[in-house]
Amino acid sequence: MNEVSVRAPKISRDRLKKKLYFFSLVAALLILAAFFSEYLCPYDPYAQDMSLAKAAPSAQHLLGTDRYGRDMLSRVIAGSFTSIFSTLALVGFITVLGTIIGVFCAWAGKWIDTVLMRLADMFLAFPGLVFALAVAAVLGGGVHNAIFALAAISWPKYARLARSQTLAQQELPYMQAVRMAGSSPLKIIRKHVLPNIAGPILVTAMLDIGTMMIELAGLSFLGLGAKPPIPEWGSMMSDTRNLLATQPWVTLAPGFAIFLSVMIFNLLGDTVRDWLDPKNRR
């Protein structure tokens, strides 16, 4: 090896591919496990047994029990359904909505663009928690309203990204060639703009899954998301935080579940970003 390169070392495409497959597989397993969580629980996550309350981890109850004697492992597994699917629904919704609004703004221009973008600024100016509190006050608590509150303040990020990416695409020379080929605006958006802007938007969405999971758990922790006794990682941590000094496992279990899921989705997001990076093509 006496080859001298002035360029930054490229991650080999093969290694990246393996990494991508690995993290996709792990994430897919996590999502599958969440989907079938009902059948994976060793015990009923709602069944209380006061005689077993606050039991330490043992062979029967791998993660111990909470103060009502409910099996923590079952509750963490059952909680994955709410936590993961609310997050995915939220991220999917804001990605699609934000992209549509952003591309539309870039294409329409003029006053439509100005009005929608100022609206986006307005929503960005709300602190998330305060807005969620307001939504909870008006519409009541619950997972749906927490998702709604977070969606309302998160779509502008995607709208701005899609808008700026679309504007950048419109400036590229190939856009003139495509226009001269007689393609309609809808076809140009579908065939040329969306594939070219999908990369950055997808990566943002992937990396946002972790953030949104934490935000949702945070809202639940404050009692603005999932309502007990529905198992949800954020509300479980809030439920058991008084026991942190004496029975730490009941708080640590859902906390660790959040940490692990966020990490998996973040690593997947990073890998997808590297994969889509044009510098890494071929």
Binding site: L172, P173, Y174, Q176, A177, V178, R179, M180, A181, G182, S183, S184, K187, K191, H192, P195, N196, P278, R282
Partner: protein, 252 residues
């Protein structure tokens, strides 16, 4: 001679925010006859590319009129503009950038065919024929623009422009991004195509030597105006304006 393109008193003012408005094109009038090869030359910033964008309606004109094949297209939109693009096509300065990086060359060439009612198989066959006409192996249609050389990409761009059989081909610095040997190849390709298909060319260029034995007529642009006009020989041998002399001297 029948006129395929006529520009009358074109004017373009760029207005950006509070900055001083920039007059890029000032009272430019010219015509291109059927089968004629016209060169528009001038230094960088003289407004020749802006003229190309105005007549192809990629930029809106501030003032003036554009006629294509007898029809006014100055404010044409939608279907009317689509029909106008059947008659005129353009080859751009940077070959690789003029293709969508996420579409294959074949897709790029076939796009206008598909838009004008060709079925997928027909468009594919026609694409292969066009690529051959432009001296490209048909296998290259599955390549992405960054996978082929600049010369090959420019040939593909010419194939794309020829796809819907335009009457007028506008070449905006079509060879300036290529090296000299490839430049010569592209020029001879254009020459051959012109003989075979009898199109009109509007050749936009800053290199006067390149157009000397290629074009019938030369228009010299300076500061947004046409300062001199004549046959290539006239302009090069007996330039009337100092500016033209300077352009010629800079090559020799």
């Amino acid at each position: 001679m029948e006129k395929i393109l006529e520009a009358r008193h074109l004017r373009k003012v760029f207005q950006a925010g509070s900055r001083e408005p920039l007059l890029a094109v000032d009272d430019v009038s010219f015509a291109v006859g059927a089968g004629e090869k016209v060169a528009l030359i001038g230094e960088s910033g003289s407004g020749k590319s802006t003229v190309a964008k105005l007549i192809t309606r990629l930029l809106a004109v501030t003032d003036g009129q554009i006629f294509l094949d007898g029809e006014e297209i100055t404010r044409a939109r939608g279907m009317k503009l689509k029909q106008a693009y059947r008659k005129m096509q353009m080859v751009f300065q940077s070959p690789v950038d003029s293709f969508d990086p996420r579409c294959t060359l074949g897709d790029g060439i076939a796009e206008s065919l598909r838009n004008h009612g060709y079925a997928k198989a027909e468009a594919g066959a026609e694409t292969a024929r066009l690529m051959e006409l432009c001296g490209l192996r048909p296998e290259l249609s599955d390549c992405y623009p960054y996978e082929v050389s600049g010369g090959q990409c420019q040939r593909a761009a010419i194939a794309r422009a020829l796809a819907i059989r335009p009457k007028l081909l506008i070449l905006d610095e079509a060879t300036s991004a290529l090296d000299v040997t490839v430049q010569a190849e592209i020029m001879s390709l254009l020459n051959r195509l012109q003989r075979e298909l009898s199109m009109s060319y509007l050749f936009i260029c800053h290199d006067i030597a390149l157009v000397q034995d290629f074009c019938d007529r030369v228009l010299v642009m300076h500061n947004g105006r046409i300062v001199e006009e004549g046959t290539a020989d006239e302009v090069i041998r007996h330039p009337q304006k100092k500016y033209t002399q300077m352009l010629i001297d800079s090559v020799l």
